[in-house]
Symmetry: C2
Subunit: 343 residues, 2 copies
Amino acid sequence: MKLAVDAMGGDYAPKQIVMGAIEAVKKYDCEIVLVGDREKIEAEIKANNAQNLDRLTIHHTTEVIEMGEHPVEAVRKKKDSSLVVATKLVKTGECDGVLSAGSTGAATTAATLFLRTIKGVDKPSIATPLPTKDGLVLLLDSGAIVDSKPKDLTEMALMGSIYSQYVYGIDNPKVGLLNVGEEETKGNKKVQTTYPMLKGMNSINFIGNVEGRDIPTGMADVVICDGFVGNIVLKFAEGLAVTLLDLIKDAIKNGGIFAKLGAVLVMPALKKLGKRLDVTEYGGAPLLGVNGCCIICHGSSDAKSICSAINVANEYVKNNVVDRIRDSIEKEEMLADDNNEEK
Amino acid sequence: MKLAVDAMGGDYAPKQIVMGAIEAVKKYDCEIVLVGDREKIEAEIKANNAQNLDRLTIHHTTEVIEMGEHPVEAVRKKKDSSLVVATKLVKTGECDGVLSAGSTGAATTAATLFLRTIKGVDKPSIATPLPTKDGLVLLLDSGAIVDSKPKDLTEMALMGSIYSQYVYGIDNPKVGLLNVGEEETKGNKKVQTTYPMLKGMNSINFIGNVEGRDIPTGMADVVICDGFVGNIVLKFAEGLAVTLLDLIKDAIKNGGIFAKLGAVLVMPALKKLGKRLDVTEYGGAPLLGVNGCCIICHGSSDAKSICSAINVANEYVKNNVVDRIRDSIEKEEMLADDNNEEK
């Protein structure tokens, strides 16, 4: 198991990325290639007294893709960027997977361009884990396909289902279609067309429509939606969490001495809950549908989240998620062909 | 000022609806016609010792539209339902506005069918207020138009802007287009087409794209989106609030004696915050774009939220929101025609 980690991508790169990689090689059975500026990476390794870890190597690159850059242009132009080189290490077979906390658009572009999509998959999609009442739900697509077609949504259902089963260990994951109502006839044209297609699929456990309010309850293990919708839901959740926390802090600050004392007493219980709800504990979001393991991490990832994401990448590779997706897509296509012939 | 209130619509009808109406006639300068089963309404009035309120009258009807019914069929068939009759009281000019906590689909259908849309408006949309860091944001459409066109989105921008200004008293309200990124070129085809149209409008203060995370911060006073997206965001917020509250309660319950004591001490401060974040304080959601005031309340509305919604309806009518929308739409259309001629 060998993973290429883009050491230069992310708000806290290279420091937190390198620290996460150090933690991961100590904790998990994997080799890591840190891709980026050798001097900077070596300085971080030294600062963490980790010079003697032989499962941690450096692949030197001279360029970095910045957050504001146009993904396609940046990936085409910056051939010696940490992201492009890390992705190509998977293409050549030198590494089993790639991980980046840099620009999501650039990571998606690089993976699509160099690893190509799995036969039968039109476009890859991003699956983001969200905490629920007593577990987690995988929301996809969360931003890669903003004008998805019904066929894209069926591919997401299949890929999300496999990922949920083999990486999170959820048996026969329940797949829901995000909609404005429960009934099959509800929603816009896209989901109305998609519903019967999902219903006809053999390899997924389709439970029908789920509404916005069902996402956090864990009614479904995999929630399927267009990337425009998914991205807005995810960012809304993020904004809500930050705003709510600020408001609670303010309320306690202005609540006088009793409120402050109460906050101190209640904190340990809430910290435990906060830890469970912290998405960074669940690692990054996989780009599903390309020929290789590609994990996209949040821009604000710290060492802990990088380390969790490396664990996720490990499970992804170990469980042959790509091969399983390839097989499933082939089977569903054969099934669809049979059905068409019968008609 | 005379409002028709559907006394039979909502999870807690007629009890909470009648109680809300009683509270409102005492508190605000308005007359209320409770539309529904006379016997049941009278029983509630009697239970609240409110027989002597002469600004509260009853209009007897024999039918009720249930939540599960098909909106169009139900509205066409149940001619003596409380909702249909209440809406028709606005059509005939007997009342200035209608308010219902029953089926949103049926209320939208009845208003569209009997009050008709304002000239120039293709379809009405629902504007829902959401609490933000230090105020509120109006999100529309929140479910009436699930396959909206760019023109629908521009109408929402204009109508939401007028509503925000005249009902919530926000001066020159900031209008944002909900998107997956800030840049003009981001998003799906629909929002990409809508962006320059909003930019070209004279009567709104368009601030550009806003992302999901910007909704709760109050970056915009009015957030425009397709009804499919808006409905999912709103229901997601609702589900998240319920789930989070449950989780916090569990965490405190399992946190031992100190956590429980802390919770007691911190509660007054949090209750104050909770009251501010409680959407029911902001009244119902208006159906904008029909020739008349139509306020849709949450199915779970209690007396307090019905009373706030009646206040909102009052402001709506008093400030001639319908006329203002009609004038603005006319002006924007003339402007668009001029621009086309110039070209």
